[in-house]
Symmetry: C2
């Protein structure tokens, strides 16, 4: 299959080295202990960056910075989405102010979803999950694209930025970045650029380092926003920083996709459903029979259960390495790898659902 | 010269009957006394309309309605701009709420003018002129596109509308309406559609008849906004009404243009400068010599001084008819027609400048 990567589509096998050279991003390099302690960094899930030194410096010198991200409130929040949520929690603990944009205007244009439906999904699912994962929403600036703020000065300045940015981009550029465009996609792209940049307006934080952690497929958005920073001398924006994470693989391989429930574990899936999905759909790196597996061993690099353990569910490097070598040697069977993940996932989901229960009412009250 | 009419360009001689059939607008028809008393209506300066019955009905039944208009704060406010200003004053007296949009975002995209410059020009020139012409700005909703309101609910709903409308228009349509487009022109067009429609949002007046008086060259904007009303069933918008006025001719004929000071009389021109401009530039419908003029007579239909008297400066129909027949018969010379206009204009400008003095500080304070 052709390797297709645009913000709208990810298909085929991903060659991360090629991506780095194609998109011009840099390897993540050495990071300070505060970041290296997080398995997302230490295991290379976050593998590339642009201008990330600025953020490292802010962390090391305890200077203010912003982490900005968005959520598309269509479909269920799944493990793939947890990649960024984990980073929100981490950066908040490191002193960052977290900006979270609910992309309801983008959902309206790209998915024809009503603003009311977007609001409900954002609150019930995503925001409540963030709170349950340990994010203090009271310290974040969470907003809907269709309703920026209850402070008119902020609201005006946010949309003003969207309107002004239009002068500094061309149709050709939108097409080069997005492929086929429509007025809806174009206005969404401009709003998304405003999302990434407006934290630096005087009505918000003023010029400040901002990091936007994304999947590599989202880099065109970052590039456009960065180009706009270069061109609009009106504002004294600090150039955007970004980090890039690998795609969380779907259960059968490929990308985890909201539109295919057999590809993902949702954070609201019951442990029983999660177990069923793992057993039924999770691609295994093992051999066809137990005999062959014992003889030839399995391949943890393509084994989805091992991957999920590596992304999130096995913190302990030693234990993870043991699983890997036992799998390769044939000592650990595919079913055993699945069981190991299912146990971890069951604990996680059970605890997570209890935390959701604890937070749901407050989150609903705060954002309704 | 080819007859070119787009919102960006007006060239050549205008065939108003053809325009009516080409653009599908209807003749203005019979209007009630409240409107017929205004020479803009009685003399056919306002000559066409769409769905204007709704506004007539509101006037006759003393029901609420809105007049919406915009000003482009580039260059000086001149007599051509006074056409709409006179209508603001008239509709306000008839009970309409007047919405006035300062199109500073459009000026940013179409003329590369900074928002700060737009603000200064809007206040010093246009808004102060409106007040001097008798408009009660305290009863109007005057706003800048870059800063809709100090009420966040209103602000959010205005820009939300702009963003939502993008889904319901196509690039083809923007191209058909505007010719060549750019991201800036497109986002301006969407904002202008929001300008025309947002008065009907629940945060503003709710569904209500809205009339937008424009020059016929602006009809593509009206058509686009009306098409959007048909397509976005989300909102219970009453279909827009519009009226169309003839172009105020420039001093040498053609359109009065802000970018050519020899084509217009500004409302801030001194009476002495206005006199000089009339004498030097105003196209005359008279003959080359006094002798020929006495024998053949002049043509008031192309005489700019007579036109200006007809548009604004001679209220008295009988007197105007007398000027016309005396001109045709050769009794009245071109220089005398100019002198007649210059007297009227001198009185108008002198009084107008005194009124500007009276209003300037308050207008500046209100909008700065």
């Amino acid at each position: 299959m052709e390797n297709v990567i645009t913000p709208w589509d990810v298909k085929g096998d991903i060659d991360y080295d090629k991506l780095q050279s194609k998109f011009g991003v840099k390897p993540i390099g050495k990071v300070p202990k505060e970041l290296a302690d997080n398995i997302l960094f230490s295991r290379g899930t976050i593998f590339a960056q642009r201008d990330f030194e600025r953020i490292i410096s802010a962390i090391e010198n305890k200077k203010p910075f912003v982490m900005m991200t968005g959520l598309m409130p269509t479909g269920k929040m799944h493990l793939g989405h947890m990649l960024v949520a984990k980073q929100m929690v981490m950066y908040q603990k490191l002193g960052a102010k977290i900006y979270i944009c609910v992309a309801d205007i983008e959902a309206y244009h790209a998915r024809q979803q009503s603003l009311a439906d977007s609001k409900k999904i954002a609150i019930d699912d995503y925001l409540t999950n963030y709170a349950a994962l340990g994010l203090d929403l009271d310290k974040c600036d969470v907003y809907f694209q269709s309703e920026r703020s209850s402070d008119a000065k902020k609201t005006n300045s946010y949309y003003r930025l969207q309107n002004i940015l239009a002068r500094h981009a061309s149709f050709k550029e939108f097409e080069a970045v997005y492929g086929e465009i429509s007025p809806g996609k174009m206005i969404s792209a401009l709003l998304q650029a405003a999302d990434m940049l407006h934290a630096q307006l005087p009505e918000f934080e003023g010029p400040i380092p901002v990091v936007v952690p994304v999947g590599i497929d989202q880099d065109p958005h970052i590039r456009l926003a960065r180009d706009l920073v270069e061109r609009t001398k009106l504002f004294k924006f600090v150039q955007l920083s970004s980090t890039y994470n690998r795609f969380m693989p779907g259960l059968a391989g490929g990308k985890m996709s909201s539109s295919d429930p057999t590809s993902f574990i949702a954070l609201t899936d019951s442990p029983a459903d999660a177990k069923k999905k793992i057993n039924k759909y999770a691609f295994s790196g093992g051999q066809a029979t137990v005999e062959e597996h014992r003889k030839l061993g399995g391949n943890p690099d393509v084994d989805i259960s091992f991957q999920y353990l590596s992304y999130f569910f096995e913190d302990d490097d030693e234990k993870l390495n043991q699983l890997s070598s036992d799998y390769k040697s044939g000592k650990l069977l595919s079913g055993e790898m699945k069981s190991y993940l299912i146990d971890k996932l069951t604990n996680f989901l059970t605890e997570h659902h209890a935390k959701r229960e604890k937070h749901l009412a407050a989150v609903t009250k705060k954002f309704s």
